[in-house]
Amino acid sequence: MTNTRIPPARAARPEPSPPPAPRRPPARDRGTRLLATLFLAPTIVGIVVFTVVPIAGSVGLSLFHWNVIDSPSYAGLSAYGEVLGDETVLVSFRNTLVFMVFAVALQLLVALTLALAVNGRMPVWLRSVFRSAFFFPLVLSAASISVVMKYLFNQDFGVINWLLGLVGVAPVPWLTSENAAMATVVLVYVWQQFGFSFLLFVGGLNNIPKEIHEAAALDGATGLRKHLTVTLPLLSPTLLVASVVGIINALQVFEQPYVLTNGGPGDSTRTVVMVIYETAFEQLRFGEASAVGVLLFVLIMAVTALQFRLSRRFVHYQ
């Protein structure tokens, strides 16, 4: 730092003694450091090659016009101007944020409710069955689940409308009306994804000492009140992890809207990652697609940073 003016009070202080010259660590410490570096090297190389370089490459590519066939041509920040002026891109960001809010909220609510239920009194074998059953959709391919769901939710020929028809309900346009389509995509996504949050919550609930619950019961806290005042605060670190992972995944949603609705009707379920795919691989505008990718990256970083910032107030570590 360059000092241009020295305050008198500080100038009156005695001159601090210079810091001792750094000394070379002993040979044994140097060996330990080298060993640690060697053990960490594969992870660091992996992160650099598979995360840092692609991110840097994407940022670099966003400054070029590139159609795969011809050589890239430098375009400065024009791709950002172009995508920010594109109505489809803006709508996709809005859709993605709406999707994120509803999907993550529903995912956490369903997962937490089921985790509390499974953690209640029941035979061990039944608990294992529920844990496996709730986690199972997560290991399936999102694309194949979406194909099956597309059949089930078909307005004219789907099983769900057929079942509703048996009780006199008129066919519901699950995938063919703008509002219902987004809701259906959220439902399908949550059905598949809540298993991860569920497992986190089950683990988190098991880590809460029973004595605390017993003490709360002695103080008269039962039922919902006990969960709100005791369980939730103690589970807040797990909730933070589940919500951070959930939000990051939801902001990158692709398979479900792509297969179920292809972004329609109109643009009502078109998400940011769908726009990236379409812009890059269908329209061959890799620079613009990278610019959208960089904007999504910034959005994810901002939302995650905001979450951690807010977590200081709401997360309680034991």
Binding site: M1, T2, N3, P19, A21, P22, N67, V68, I69, V147, K150, Y151, N154, Q155, D156, F157, W162, G165, P173, L175, T176, S177, E178, A181, T261, N262, G263, G264, P265, G266, D267, E278, F281, E282, Q283, L284
Partner: protein, 469 residues
């Protein structure tokens, strides 16, 4: 003054790190770009042909390879069947291979991609066609000139068509009988079509939808636009191509031919386009047809073969498809698309495009000729999974097992309605298709949505067509 405690040793160390990083960056920047072709063993000197995976199963690939090996034992052939949902997905994957530096020598390209490949990646076949004219006389005599013209771009020929599919109308015979309706005549009209749908609906029950269609470029809204004597983009013909027409086709067939189609100015707000959307919106309102998002090819065969759908547009490819789904040959039939202002129909064709990056262009031409031979197509398309581009292959014998009874419709579409043309597929086809599908969904939400959605479609199409591909 800088407040720092950087020692000389540390300064030297960081300097060395910086120099090392700069040296690494400089070395990396000075290297030629590594591509997939640099992987040892990747380039084994084979002629690489990329085909659409679902259309070319293992049996078809073996047929192609064995036949070619007999004719050209000196050319090593590798067929790469690329799995893709549709042509758009297939082209995306081929372009990814091009970007990775592992471009195939030949790509199977349908009408959707003919101009994109011709403009950016393809090699015109003119010089080889002229050189081997005597050998190709028999081929061109067997292939309708309209199909050949759809493979031309700005006066040059880029592919020899080997298959095509026109959007004709398929009927479930059982549904027709249930509705008490007769099989429609060849010159039936749009009003006849609507009346037929109403008859079907009346007798079909609550869970029956008379008309099923898929929202896509081929067979979606476009056949109705053609029938109403309009198009999504203004259509004209490029000059040139006389060398081909004069060389291979008689005067009667070459009249009006040019150097390929041009699709330029968007006309989504044209009155006739609006009429088409109004008509389809009214069918949806009346419960006579599926919404655009509801229909897709994946479940179409199932709902058609079980009688939950009565009518749908499809090409010759469905003869084999319905047979494989278990439909008897007399369980379904096919007729021309109904007349509106015209009875002009739409089709898509496909053939092999030779890429500029190929180092084996002469060998690739030999494969193109081989793939268009009569015996090759006869073996390749034995299951009626498409309509062969060669007229002589459409025989009663071919359709005796699979049906339909009115199989001559498949090729006669081209003869009976000579203005029948390819789907609009300019080089910007990917974006054009995306805009079409998106706004078709919105336009058909209700009859009131048609005009605003078409205005937005027009704006988006104009932007798409202005963009350099």
């Amino acid at each position: 003054m800088t407040d720092s405690h950087l020692t000389r040793r540390a300064l030297l160390r960081y300097g060395a790190y910086g120099a090392g990083a700069a040296a690494l960056a400089g070395t990396a920047a000075s290297w030629d770009r590594l591509t997939g072709a640099d992987i040892p063993g990747r380039d084994d000197g084979s002629l690489v042909v990329a085909t659409l995976g679902p259309a070319y199963g293992p049996e078809a690939i073996r047929t192609l390879q064995e036949g070619f090996a007999e004719l050209h034992p000196d050319i090593k052939l590798r067929i790469n069947a690329v799995q893709a949902v549709d042509w758009s997905d297939f082209f995306a994957k081929i372009l990814t291979q091009v970007a990775a530096g592992t471009a195939p020598d030949l790509v199977y390209v349908a009408t959707e991609g003919v101009q994109l490949f011709a403009q950016r990646l393809g090699v015109a076949l003119d010089r080889w066609v002229k050189r081997d004219a005597a050998e190709l006389k028999e081929y061109f005599a067997d292939v309708h000139p309209s199909l050949v013209e759809s493979m031309m771009y700005e006066g040059s020929l880029y592919q020899l068509p080997v298959e095509f599919n026109a959007a004709d109308m398929y009927f479930n015979r059982q549904v027709l009988t249930r509705a008490g309706a007769a099989f429609p005549p060849a010159d039936w009209t749009r009003d006849d079509f609507t009346a037929l749908l109403r008859d079907m609906k009346r007798t079909g029950g609550a869970r029956f939808t008379p008309y099923f269609w898929t929202n896509r470029l081929w067979g979606g809204v476009v056949p109705w636009l053609f029938a109403n004597d309009t198009n999504l983009l203004a259509e004209s013909k490029a000059p040139g191509g006389q060398w081909l027409w004069d060389g291979f086709y008689p005067a009667g067939q070459r009249a009006g031919r040019g150097g390929g189609f041009r699709w330029t100015t968007p006309q989504a707000t044209h009155d006739r386009v609006e009429e088409v959307y109004d008509y389809l919106a009214s069918l949806i309102q009346d419960g006579l047809c599926t919404r655009p998002e509801g229909g897709n090819g994946q479940n179409l065969i199932g709902v058609f073969s079980t009688g939950r759908v009565g009518v749908t547009p499809a090409g010759g490819f469905w003869a084999g498809g319905l047979h494989l789904a278990g439909m008897e040959r007399d369980g379904f039939d096919v007729q021309y698309f109904p007349r509106w202002r015209t009875q002009r129909m739409q089709y898509g064709a496909a053939g092999y495009a030779l890429l500029r990056t190929s180092a084996m262009q002469d060998e690739a031409w030999e494969f193109i000729k081989y793939a268009a031979r009569r015996d090759t197509l006869e073996r390749l398309f034995a299951t009626n999974q498409t309509t062969p581009a060669r007229r002589s292959l459409l025989t009663a014998d071919r359709y005796a097992k699979t049906g339909p009874a009115h199989w001559p419709v498949f090729y006669d579409t081209l003869d009976r309605f000579p203005d029948t043309g390819p789907i609009p597929a300019p080089p910007q086809v990917a974006e054009v298709e995306q805009v079409l599908l998106k706004h078709t969904g919105t336009a058909l939400a209700s009859p009131r949505s048609v005009r605003p959605a078409l205005r937005r479609m027009q704006g988006d199409l104009e932007k798409a067509m202005e963009r350099e591909v």
